[in-house]
Symmetry: C2
Subunit: 418 residues, 2 copies
Amino acid sequence: MKLSQLFTKTTKDVPADETARNAQLLIQAGFIHKEMAGVYAYLPLGKRVLDNIVQIIREEMDALEGQEISLTALQNKDVWETSGRWSDEAIDVWFRTKVAGGGELGLAPTHEEPLTNLMRRFIGSYKDLPAYPYQFQTKFRNELRAKSGLMRGREFLMKDLYSFSLGEPEHEVFYEKAAKAYQKVFDRLGIGESTYKTFASGGSFSKYSHEYQTISPVGEDTIYVHQAKRIAINKEVYNDEVLAELGLNKDELVEKTAVEVGNIFTLGTKYSEALGLTFSAEDGSVRPVFMGSYGIGPSRLMGLIAEHFADDKGLVWPENIAPAKVYIAQLGTNSVVLEQATELYNRLTATGVEVLYDDRDLRPGEKFADADLMGIPYRVIVSDKTQAAGNYEIKARQAEVAEHVSYEQLLRMLGMST
Amino acid sequence: MKLSQLFTKTTKDVPADETARNAQLLIQAGFIHKEMAGVYAYLPLGKRVLDNIVQIIREEMDALEGQEISLTALQNKDVWETSGRWSDEAIDVWFRTKVAGGGELGLAPTHEEPLTNLMRRFIGSYKDLPAYPYQFQTKFRNELRAKSGLMRGREFLMKDLYSFSLGEPEHEVFYEKAAKAYQKVFDRLGIGESTYKTFASGGSFSKYSHEYQTISPVGEDTIYVHQAKRIAINKEVYNDEVLAELGLNKDELVEKTAVEVGNIFTLGTKYSEALGLTFSAEDGSVRPVFMGSYGIGPSRLMGLIAEHFADDKGLVWPENIAPAKVYIAQLGTNSVVLEQATELYNRLTATGVEVLYDDRDLRPGEKFADADLMGIPYRVIVSDKTQAAGNYEIKARQAEVAEHVSYEQLLRMLGMST
């Protein structure tokens, strides 16, 4: 995309009403817009980042044989009353609304109930199991405070997969596969090293659930990390009994603050019993379906990754989720420079490389500042000077110095065959 | 996808609580699930159809130099009060909700206000214009009645593009380009022939707006069609004065019922004046931005297309939005048949052809009924009989008879080079 055509602009002004660094930077870079606390719109470059994160998660869910669906925001009160979660005591973040003609609806804070209810249409026999529907869907949570930017929203995007299994043994096998898929997602997003599978409190059917916690100074959670074993324990279950059970020694654990970026949870038959989701087993008995839930928040991840990699110049995106791989800064407007920059832009985009081409009439310093603030992995300069020297200048976002290279070298450095 | 793995199932039972044919068929085929009147979840095959429709629209919006964004569902009351549209008198389909800690929010029934307000960040000078942001976003409308299936929802997907121009002349040029893009969308969706650009009532800035109306016996609108000129007039502006102005003769027009599938509207400076979206013109004067809006409802289109092409056997999808192109019905389970069917499935999917492979243990009639109900463009039979004869049986969804063809012919008929 040519920046002369992009309708957003960057700003040096730090938004006065934002305390979260991720939101400050994403707003300054023109990636998002704050509608109100905890409610953000995604602008073209922000939407690309979010879409890239979604696509990575989608690929890993498809690899688990997940089947993508899309449930609704508006929720039927009756279904949630059946499970006992309509009340404020059960879920304290409901948004509720009145429907024309009478009655009340909720805005989905999560989707266990509607999906369990829906699956009654399709699950009747052991032959119908297992099933792994998932979705990317907006969740609404009426948070009293929302001051962590994209990391805690009142309206935010969630990937939630649910497993429906014959029983606990089949569930356990899938649960472990899902755990591996989650680690792969975080690896691909560039935060695998900083993310720990963390033991957290479970429910009636499992002593523990597992959270994926990414170390971050702005995290709201406290975890105890075992670096070598790549696991951690959430403070909520950090006690001698649990340590003994997990065979961990207090001395080997380090206290950290972290952000929960995903969680996997054994639901057991809690919802299937409440809502009557049963199946006829091979032996003729009728049993409740055994369930699990698997959540990742793409918008929270975007906020976390923004915050995690940022430096004093701005955002720093990992290459596979960046809104573009290359930022071409065209300096000067003589016809040969223009021609070279255009040719490079066309060449890269023709082979599917995403490029932001800064063709605007701005000073070099302004272009460099934007390239840095936006966090584009590679900045390429095409200028009177490079043209005269017969080369191109390339600099990785976090490199100290730039390199001057030939056209062929440039293409190779950007991963293209020449 | 193998049907033995797909978690949805078809049913012969017509849903008792649905009067709309589109919803009946889509529910029976397992494409959607009704949460409540006017609120539907999309299941794997339905989601594919919706995604295919979205992608066609996206390509045409990108060709118009639209830039994709994503605004929010939760709406700030203050912004809508500024434009005078918070009240029930202005918009009678608001869903409203209370926010924790006090205050009231709305669920977006449309997005002129938040976008106009947002664009104040980016538009200050004539150099910042034009701009064409667009989105695919859920709209919420608190309809008293919602009984047309996907064609009138309380929660539904909308593509809305907004144009921000220097003034009316620049706007007019884009408006005509958008009109052409819209026609292209409907052509690609297979309903171009039945869809008419229809003169409807305008606003303060333009005598007319334009709707795209598709002829349908279940339409809620009445239009007067000029077949040869490929235009129509909505009943609301059908009078002698308008006829004279458009140079049309009553005798040449035919009354039809139709469904509105899109509309384009000159907003002028209504919202930019109300919300203070101005720019400095080249001559130094400060002017309100001139706006237009361009809507298409992908979920309504899905309902309309389902209803439009359906026959007594079920759905009939145009090839480019079908959830799969080919339905392989494997009949019999001897090892050669299994091998042939699997080979064909792998061959087609490897080259990007979407296939539903019916590997279930069902009677032939049940498989044929499902292939028809789901509306898959081509049904291919691999059976003991075809295997013995050394051929394959292929039938287009609406063809009277099947053909027996060689493997090479089959691949050619499915658009593959051999």
